[in-house]
């Protein structure tokens, strides 16, 4: 008797979890699409969905983290462009070896994020403005460096990062999944990352309790930058080029996915797996769009509507009882 009661309680608790809701929703969408078109559940299509969502996913992880901190980062797309161009230019010119170029690229992305964090924390300026400025700056930097030309002629060993496969799964997909698992674990268990929750929920209280808010904020934005850098490496490698227009609007998609996944703008909330499912859901829906030959003009409308619906459901979930 009590057993069934408890288990039903468990079920209802589980149903209230954002991740479970999203998983169910995703399954429903998959069912609908796979019923409407036979081409959805094919190996190569799933592979392309997985590959297509990789960049958004990696960026969205960093975005989730800064959302938990109570901030946001609009500069990730420009960060991708600049990091990618610096990395590929270094390789193309043969200035340094591939691993060193990647190392420099990742450091650049990390530093861009850290600059965001330092300006935000040091001068107490709204992250929206700071990252908006950085968005312009980094994109401008990418354009100045290339004048709009593609950076091509990259070494074969670099291209393997994006194109290699392990058991038929593209390497970036595996890497992204690993990053999700590791980052989720660290966020939940590593104290330096975990402190994003109290800091985001109420930074002033956190400071009173002796948490170094500045450090947490700077680290958070730097990490977000680093994730953008990782996405940039995969993007450049997979597409075999660096390009100043890479990553346009990715910040908006990443924000959307993180919010769908349960992160809020007031900070203190957000889940890595929720974000994962958010990105997955958007990727599947956009894939379904093409598979079903829906008019390309409707795609934006649907994406915007999904975002609004997501907020509606997310808020019900988090509202004070």
């Amino acid at each position: 008797m009590t057993d069934t009661k408890r288990s039903s309680q468990l079920v209802s608790a589980a149903l209230q979890a954002r991740e479970v809701q999203l998983l169910l929703l995703t399954l429903v969408v998959v069912l609908i699409i796979s019923n409407l078109t036979p081409n959805f559940l094919t190996e190569s299509n799933l592979k392309s969905v997985a590959m297509g969502m990789t960049y958004d996913l990696i960026v969205a992880l960093g975005m989730t983290y800064v959302l938990i901190l109570g901030g946001l980062d609009l500069s990730v797309g420009s960060n991708i462009a600049l990091t990618g161009i610096i990395t590929t230019l270094l390789m193309q010119k043969g200035v340094v070896s591939v691993p060193v170029a990647i190392g420099i690229g990742l450091s650049v992305s990390f530093i861009i994020g850290a600059i965001n964090g330092v300006v935000i924390a040091k001068f107490r300026i709204n992250p929206f403005i700071v990252t908006l400025g950085m968005m312009s700056l980094a994109r401008g930097g990418a354009m100045v460096l290339t004048s709009g030309y593609f950076v091509t002629g990259l070494p074969e060993s670099f291209l393997m990062i994006g194109r290699g496969e392990i058991m038929g799964i593209p390497f970036p997909v595996i890497a992204a999944l690993l990053i999700v698992i590791v980052f989720d674990f660290l966020l939940k268990n590593w104290v330096h990352l975990n402190r994003a929750f109290p800091v985001g929920a109420d930074p002033d209280n956190a400071a009173l309790l002796g948490i170094n808010v500045n450090k947490t904020v700077v680290l958070g934005f730097a990490l977000c930058g680093l994730f953008a850098g990782i996405a940039a490496i995969f993007m450049c490698s997979r597409l075999a080029m660096g390009y100043a227009q890479f990553g346009l609007e990715i910040e908006l998609r990443a924000l959307g996915a993180a919010v769908i996944g349960g992160a809020t703008f007031s900070g203190g909330r957000g889940s890595i797996w929720g974000t994962f499912l958010g990105v997955l859901l958007l990727a599947i829906i956009n894939n379904g769009f093409v598979l079903m030959d829906a008019s390309i003009y409707w795609q934006k409308v649907v994406n915007g509507t999904i975002l609004i619906i997501a907020i509606a459901t997310a808020v019900r979930h988090s509202r004070i009882k």
Partner: protein, 259 residues
């Protein structure tokens, strides 16, 4: 002559402020503050609004730094420039607004800033167990440690804040309670006072309040602040309400011998 002097002779103060001053723009919030607090005593910190009480405790808890003056802790000069410093010394503060994270769960709230870690990793099981012990120690019933704190009752929230302030993290040596009875009903206030007395037997406690009855009930001594200065130090056993009120209001009157 009186009990507080006996105290003095028995041992050294755990914390002393010498010549503490603090300005905000044009306002002298603290002006040449000198005070001592001893172990195993409850010191009531009294004063009207704006008298400098919260500036003083913020200086002790690391939220502000003094412009001038020094703080001696266990006889040694210490520098409290950020909350961490205070935590490390064992100065624990329970803030008036509780400083809880509404949307986070009970355990996270209890351990925020003083998490148990091994190699930087959270020891969640250990924290969960500890949380249970602390809460049962405070005689609080909270259904689940995974509840969001904002869904708890006012009394429960108080317990979480006190539990965090007192029992979690570094061994407390000096506990600062900022208006712990504010916003509580009579029954819950009594509960807090009982807890205060209990704590006072083990640690030094600074108890900030407006309520003179509560102060005289639990505190051995009281420091009265007025316009950023120490208006008087009283022995609660001998002081009467009128004396205290006139000190608080800054009415010039020589009271007691312990000034």
């Amino acid at each position: 002559m009186n009990s507080s002097e006996n105290h003095d002779q028995k041992r050294k103060p755990i914390l002393s402020i010498r010549g503490g001053s603090k300005r905000f723009g044009g306002i002298q919030a603290l002006d040449d503050i000198n005070l001592d607090i001893y172990g195993n005593e409850i010191l009531a910190l009294l004063g009207d609004n704006g008298a400098g009480k919260s500036t003083l405790i913020k200086a002790l808890s690391g939220a502000h730094t003094l412009d001038e003056g020094e703080i001696l802790f266990e006889g040694k000069k210490v520098n409290i420039s950020k909350p961490e410093d205070a935590h490390n010394l064992g100065i624990k503060t329970v803030y008036q607004d509780l400083a809880l994270f509404g949307i986070l769960d009970v355990t996270t709230n209890l351990f925020a800033g003083s998490e148990y870690t091994r190699w930087g990793f959270l020891q969640k099981k250990k924290m969960g167990k500890e949380a249970q012990t602390v809460l049962s120690h405070l005689k609080t019933t909270i259904k689940s440690l995974h509840q969001e704190v904002r869904s708890l009752s006012g009394g429960q929230q108080h317990s979480v804040a006190i539990g965090r302030g007192v029992f979690i993290g570094h061994e407390p040596k000096l506990i600062i309670m900022d208006e712990p009875t504010a916003g509580l009903g009579v029954k819950q206030s009594r509960e807090v006072l009982r807890l205060l007395k209990e704590l006072g037997q083990k640690f030094a406690v600074i108890f900030i309040t407006h309520n003179l009855e509560y102060a005289s009930e639990v505190a051995q001594r009281a420091v009265v602040l007025c316009s950023g200065r120490v208006a008087g130090v009283l022995d609660m056993a001998e002081a009467n309400h009128n004396q205290i009120v006139s000190l608080m209001m800054g009415v010039d009157q020589v009271v007691g011998e312990s000034v």
